[in-house]
Amino acid sequence: MDNYIPLSYWDLAAASLLVFINAGLSVIFRLRVHRSLLIAAIRMVVQLSLVGVVLTTLFSAVSPLWTGLAALVMVLFAGNEAAQRQERGLSGWWSYGLGTGCMMMSSVVVTVFALLTALRPNPWYDPRYVIPLLGMILGNCMTGISLGLDTLTTSLVSRRAGVEAQLMLGATRWEAVAPVTRQALRSALMPTINSMSATGVVSLPGMMTGQILGGVPPAEAVKYQILVMFMIAGGTGLGAVTAVLGGVYRVTDGRHRLRLDRLRPPKPA
């Protein structure tokens, strides 16, 4: 795998000119995004450089403890991000706990499954495999779970009268919320379905492109990509179903009432 072209810092500096051109366009068209564009670009460089250092250390250590710790930190960050992305999340500890818990459960299950069945690295917790796989699953799982929970809560707010009308006719909380639950699960799974059907035709996935640039034969890179797509689909499905059902459990109660008081108040416009 040594047949890739190493990049020098001058190469990167030259490429960064493109960002400066974007910033210039923002100034010319008075978009007022040049500041945030440059800050985002600097953040990206700093964050990725740090990750490079961390991964180098992790990969050389090959310790189950450090690998597990890195995985935990990734899950916690993803959970925080998923909680932030919701318009009307659950209030209190649930806002963070539900998404993070479901993400941890589903991504760990799927990653360990892939490590033990398809990849079988030695040792099985080899961070060179664990960390990138977990990262890709978490990224997609996070989108799915936050979309699912966001659809659930915003639809329950907007369709409250319909849900309560069903409750009033003697429906259980699960029956009354079923149409909203289905809608939430559909929107959670849509991005995964769309990306699977567009992959290879509309877009070349980043991981596969990276492997090909790194010198891996395309046929091998494709196999990895297919494996990862299956893992993403499985992880997102598992995570979204548990998160949405957990969300339904939380926004209703044992008396089969709709408890929208357990949502965060709407953000001021």
């Binding site: 369709r159 009268a161 409750l167 259980t172 044992g254 009432r257």
Partner: protein, 179 residues
């Protein structure tokens, strides 16, 4: 039940229906509400809000079996074709009458009505009143919120007034001062 807007009439109906967290003792035929599961309680105690909710696109989807619903629906002035009507095309009055039919099919023992005739024309008001009256004669208990003092006089056996969160009973022979 009457009272100024914001006095807590709707809140009281919702609390009796057990739609919001609430405190206090509610019994039906001597049975404590807390011993009855939520869904079962709400089949015994129906509630029709002022602006009824819908969860599907057409009228028929809101009724389990249309043939069984027909008797109730016809009583309220709808033809058999109403089954395919889209909810969005219904007038406020039609929505209210359908919500009423929907609640009655479950055969509740108590019906909580939140201004059911506020948006209806005179003929529809009479139809709803006579339908509810017939049900009351058959043993249905109704807690009816209205702003219409004349209506209260026509339908009520007991008069409650809600003011600033307090409920008090008015003597049945109270007089109405028309504006």
């Amino acid at each position: 039940m009457r009272g100024p807007s914001g006095a807590g009439k709707t809140l009281l109906l919702r609390a009796v229906a057990d739609l919001d967290p609430n405190e206090g003792l509610v019994t039906l035929d001597g049975r404590d509400r807390s011993t009855i599961a939520g869904p079962e309680w709400r089949r015994l105690v129906g509630y029709v809000p002022a602006d009824p909710g819908w969860w599907a696109n057409t009228v028929g989807e809101h009724f389990g079996e249309w043939t069984a619903a027909l008797a109730f629906v016809n009583d309220l002035g709808f033809s058999d074709e109403a089954k395919a009507w889209p909810i969005t095309r219904l007038s406020t009055g039609e929505r209210l009458r359908l919500a009423l039919a929907r609640a009655l099919i479950v055969r509740p023992k108590v019906l909580l009505l939140d201004e059911p005739t506020a948006a209806l024309d005179v003929a529809s008001v009479a139809a709803v009143e006579s339908l509810i009256n017939a049900r009351m004669r058959a043993g249905l208990a109704v807690l009816w919120v209205t702003h219409d003092a004349e209506q209260a006089k026509r339908v009520a056996h007991r008069h409650l007034v809600v003011e600033a969160g307090q409920v008090r009973e008015e003597a049945p022979e109270w007089t109405i001062i028309s504006p």
